[in-house]
């Protein structure tokens, strides 16, 4: 028995290392007496690197494993762990350089962000509803704390409070949906629930099942900040410290989509759901939601001046693009009950690919925002006047990230968008593709407003001093890596394609 448990432990090494990392971060804070926080940051960075190493090793081993009966370690989970892990690595790296963190007692931050990631890791690799909820709450609650981390700042506290209120409400609705579903199906296992749903959707339980699924959808949509459950997003993104904002925008959203995809897969595919007459309506509902989300996000982003707020709205828009793929998924299973669409390119493929693209370009864009804030203390578009000539490298990379966010070649963002377009057009949802296409034009306007201020305007105040010294050069190296990756995978995206395809059942 014990040997079996120890053997199972092998598959959750990344989580174990994360847990050790959390403890180390806490202890180093105590030992150092809250003095030199960079050391805690570097320890966390090393832990994250180790986590990535174990994830990669498990990916190389392959196979699907059931650990302790509640954790599933399969290629899908490992891919999402890899995405979240890379996100975490970059975020921790940013945090080490983050100016506002240059003070005492900030070591808890690393413990919190590692805990949050632990939540994500379990979230994407479980098929047990209860455990799923626990993991989700672990992610959520630590996120609330992280959002309010700059205690002295009113904005930060406001962000945390808003996040808690909205988060608690949507969690409540979702868990209510879970409980209805559990009460009927009598099982916490997602696949068994799927079988129940498949058997009874047309029967007397039909209405109850639909209600519970809609409630669960509300919870998921809150997590990915889809319209109309996005209200928390801009305030939280603006108020939270920038590394936290990056984490929420990238890792948390990835987790949300990982959750949706796994739920969809387990409940609708593994359960053998005959959704022929049902998928079309869901596809339409999700399609409309996707269109509304991206349009709302893009239109609202136009008037934003604060960079973090602007990127918050842009991330809402991106959630809309991603939802497009989910809508196409339902349209596809309506066809023949499988989600391999006729092109042989799954709709889920497109979503996961876009998530990876989103990871790269958003990490990059937030990185530049943080860099400029660190160096020049500027965080609004208006204040960016002429900065492009002062920090040419960082700002040139910004242009690459903006191109990618807009979805223009030769960047990975374009490929992601194209794959989503292929997915929806293949399902005959031309209107959705058209809405999304025109949305990119709107997006161009506000993204390139940033480029305009960076490069077209003359600097108002000459001689703003660059702060931070030579160490910030390392930061630019990270931006360079992300920028080149954005370009490289925009020209040759075969490797990502293969990784994604290998991870999907």
């Amino acid at each position: 028995m014990l040997a079996e448990y120890l053997n199972d432990l092998h598959y959750i090494w990344p989580e174990v290392v994360l847990t050790v990392g959390i403890l180390l971060a806490l202890f180093s804070d105590l030992i150092l007496g809250g003095k030199d926080q960079k050391i805690t940051g570097i320890i966390s960075l090393l832990c994250t690197a180790l986590v990535l190493y174990f994830v990669l090793r498990l990916r190389a081993e392959g196979g699907s494993h059931d650990v302790f009966g509640i954790v599933v370690v399969d290629p899908f989970a490992l891919l999402f762990k890899l995405i979240a892990g890379i996100g975490l690595l970059v975020v921790v790296f940013y945090a080490v350089f983050f100016r506002e963190f240059d003070r005492d007692g900030i070591g808890e931050f690393y413990a919190m962000i590692l805990s949050s990631t632990l939540g994500i890791f379990f979230l994407v690799s479980t098929d047990n509803l209860l455990f799923l909820f626990l993991a989700l709450e672990m992610l959520s609650i630590t996120s609330y704390v992280l959002a309010g981390f700059l205690k002295g700042q009113q904005r930060s506290s406001e962000a945390a409070l808003k996040y808690v209120v909205y988060g608690a409400l949507s969690s409540g609705v979702m868990v209510f949906g879970f409980s209805i579903l559990f009460g009927m199906a009598g099982s916490l296992n997602l696949s068994e629930m799927g079988a129940f749903v498949a058997a009874h959707i047309g029967g007397e339980f039909g209405a109850a099942i639909t209600v519970s699924l809609v409630m669960i959808l509300v919870g998921f949509c809150f997590k990915i900040a889809a319209f109309p459950f996005h209200f928390w997003c801009p305030d939280v993104y603006e108020g939270a410290p920038t590394p936290v904002t990056t984490f929420l925008a990238v890792c948390s959203k990835t987790a949300g989509f990982g959750l949706i995809l796994r739920f969809m897969n387990d409940v609708f595919i593994s359960g053998g759901m005959p959704v022929a007459e049902w998928g079309g309506e869901v596809a339409l509902l999700l399609g409309v939601m996707a269109a509304a989300t991206m349009t709302y996000g893009n239109i609202t982003a136009i008037k934003q001046d604060n960079l973090k707020r602007l990127l918050a709205y842009s991330s809402i828009a991106h959630a809309g693009y991603l939802l497009m793929g989910v809508a196409a998924f339902f349209a596809a299973i309506k066809g023949d009950g499988r989600y391999a669409s006729t092109t042989g390119m799954g709709t889920v493929d497109a979503v996961v690919f876009y998530l990876i693209a989103y990871l790269l370009m958003n990490l990059g864009a937030f990185g530049v925002v943080m860099y400029l804030a660190n160096r020049y203390g500027r965080e609004t578009v208006e204040d960016y006047r002429g900065l492009g000539w002062k920090a040419p490298y960082a700002c040139s990379f910004m242009v690459i990230f903006l191109l990618s966010l807009t979805g223009l070649p030769p960047t990975v963002g374009f490929i992601g968008k194209m794959k989503l377009f292929v997915a929806v057009i293949d399902q005959g949802m031309y209107w959705l593709a058209l809405v999304a296409a025109l949305n990119s034009v709107v997006a161009l306007f506000y993204y390139f407003r940033i480029a305009k201020y960076l490069f077209f305007k003359d600097a108002v105040t000459e001689g703003i001093e660059a702060r931070g010294g030579r160490i910030q050069g390392l930061f630019v190296c990270m931006l360079c890596v992300l920028g080149l990756a954005t370009l490289y995978y925009g020209i040759y995206w075969g490797p990502i394609d293969e990784a994604v395809r290998a991870a999907l059942p």
Binding site: F421, L444, F445, K452, F456, D458
Partner: protein, 519 residues
């Protein structure tokens, strides 16, 4: 030859030298080299830019000379698998439709480098400017040589970014507005094109982005969308016609076709001289090239369906562009609107599907490329000296700037279609071709020709003739560098006016092939 007239067999492979790849690879290398040159070494940067645009020009000359125009197949084809899961290939080649434009691109980019030789005296410096200029060349040349739709699209979009920054940083007073307007307009067209491109890709069985294969399928009627739900009928119009429409809007914005032309005067006027030259000389041609290669090539049936519509748009462009140009007092704006008018001939001539019309349209693309480029260079010369472009603000310059006036006369007369110069041949052929099919539209369009002659002659009168404006009595004549830029263009204007077959022979077989499916 196969029944669709599209042979995918390569001719003139260039003994293993990838000439077409080099056409855009050399500028890319030039960019990378420039990146590592310190930004105060202006002379080095400019020399690198001149070399990086000069080599493609030499290659283009080589291709021109060795082009086997009796063969309608693609020349110097290179084909490598790129992304297997999407069946995307790196596939380039040129035929009679694209070789004149490739040559024009390389020539104008080379000239653009010299015409912006003094850019280092402005804010922003030479380094960024020339890197963007080289990137622009990559995009433009790439579009003309791409035979894979995906590749085509990537190059098409790559062009936008340098254009945006070149106008936005080095442009005139309203540069920010003009830059974003240009970007937004073009992007609307591009995204519609993207949607259409993907729909086309998914309709073709097996799915492919290969333009030659798509052309073959399209000509066999296999892309009409019959295999789709509802027989491909979407909102009462056939699938292929929708696709045609989307592509057309994408290209029409670039041409620009009325009513999508409003970005053009802004962009032209605000852009620095060299960029205006490229805009008018080549960027407008991209739209027309797209219409010929994609709309005419892949959808002959839909093109026939929309032919009348095209001809009417052409007529509107000619007359409207000329009338608006007449009302301008800004020299640059006048030239910009005259471009709108001149591009109308392309549409009108092509829409008739006659031999003369088709030749005229394609000849016009090249000839307008040289004459409008010349006019924009001339505007730049005078603007550098007087710092304004108000036509009424000059007068009597003929006595001060005889050399300058000589070139201006050639450029303007080539543009308004004086017999013996290039513009005459192409415009006459367009109208001749259109007359057979659309006599009424042709007659109306002729009024545009008269208006064009009127405003150009009036311009000459106001700038060069009359009493000398005392303010400009010390105005220096065009210097050596400026003449160096103008001479090749003036030479081409005269040469192609006297020997138009130097161009027609190269294009004719390919055009004939295109026409055979339209008539």
């Amino acid at each position: 030859m196969d029944p669709t007239g599209i042979s995918q067999v390569a001719v003139g492979t260039g003994d293993g030298i990838p000439f077409l790849t080099l056409l855009f690879l050399v500028p890319v290398l030039g960019m990378l080299v420039t990146l590592f040159i310190p930004k105060d070494k202006n002379e080095v940067i400019k020399t690198v830019a001149a070399i990086a645009t000069g080599i493609p020009l030499l290659i283009a000359c080589y291709l021109w000379i060795n082009f086997d125009y009796s063969n309608t197949a693609m020349h110097w084809v290179e084909k490598v698998s790129w992304i297997k899961s999407f069946n995307i290939e790196y596939h380039v080649g040129i035929d009679g439709l694209s070789i004149p434009l490739v040559f024009l691109t390389c020539l104008l980019l080379f000239i653009a480098v010299f015409s912006s030789w003094n850019i280092d005296k402005l804010k922003g410096g030479a380094k960024g400017y020339f890197m963007l200029l080289l990137l622009l060349e990559v995009g433009i040349v790439g579009v003309f040589i791409s035979l894979d739709f995906f590749l085509f699209y990537v190059f098409w979009e790559i062009m936008l970014l340098p254009m945006y920054f070149l106008i936005g940083i080095w442009g005139g007073p309203r540069r920010e507005y003009a830059a974003i307007k240009f970007f937004l307009y073009t992007l609307v067209g591009s995204v519609l094109m993207l949607v259409a491109m993907i729909a086309l890709y998914l309709t073709a069985e097996p799915h492919t982005f290969n333009i030659l294969t798509l052309t073959e399928l399209g000509r066999n009627g296999q892309l009409s969308g019959d295999n789709l739900v509802n027989g491909g009928l979407l909102l009462g119009m056939q699938f292929s016609k929708w696709i045609w429409m989307f592509f057309f809007i994408g290209f029409a914005i670039k041409v620009p076709v009325f009513p999508f032309h409003t970005w053009l005067p802004d962009a032209h006027v605000e852009a620095p001289t060299a960029i205006s030259v490229i805009l008018a000389g080549i960027l407008l041609k991209l739209g027309a090239y797209g219409i010929f290669r994609i709309n005419f090539g892949i959808f002959p049936e839909a093109t026939r369906y929309f032919a009348d519509f095209l001809a009417v748009l052409g007529m509107i462009n000619i007359v409207y562009g000329a009338l608006v140009a007449m009302a301008q007092t800004d020299f640059k704006k006048l030239v910009a609107y005259s471009s709108v008018s001149h591009m109308g001939y392309v549409l009108l001539g092509a829409a008739a599907f006659t031999d003369a019309g088709m030749i005229g349209a394609n000849l016009q693309l090249f000839n307008h490329g040289t004459s409008s480029a010349m006019l924009f260079l001339l505007v730049g010369v005078i603007y550098d000296r007087a710092h304004h472009r108000d036509i009424n603000g000059f007068g009597g310059l003929a006595s001060r700037m005889p050399r300058y006036m000589g070139f201006a006369i050639v450029g303007i007369f080539a543009s308004l279609g004086l017999p013996g110069l290039a513009g005459f041949v192409s415009e006459a052929l367009c109208l001749l071709g259109a007359w057979e099919v659309y006599p009424l539209l042709t007659v109306i369009s002729l009024s545009g020709l008269i208006v064009t002659a009127a405003f150009f002659l009036w311009t000459i009168q106001r700038i060069f003739l009359g009493p000398l404006n005392e303010k400009y009595k010390d105005m220096p004549d065009a210097d050596g560098r400026e003449i160096f830029c103008l001479v090749p263009l003036a030479f081409l204007c005269v040469l192609l006016g006297v020997f138009p077959y130097l161009l027609i022979d190269w294009m004719w077989p390919s055009l004939q092939n295109l026409l055979s499916f339209l008539q």
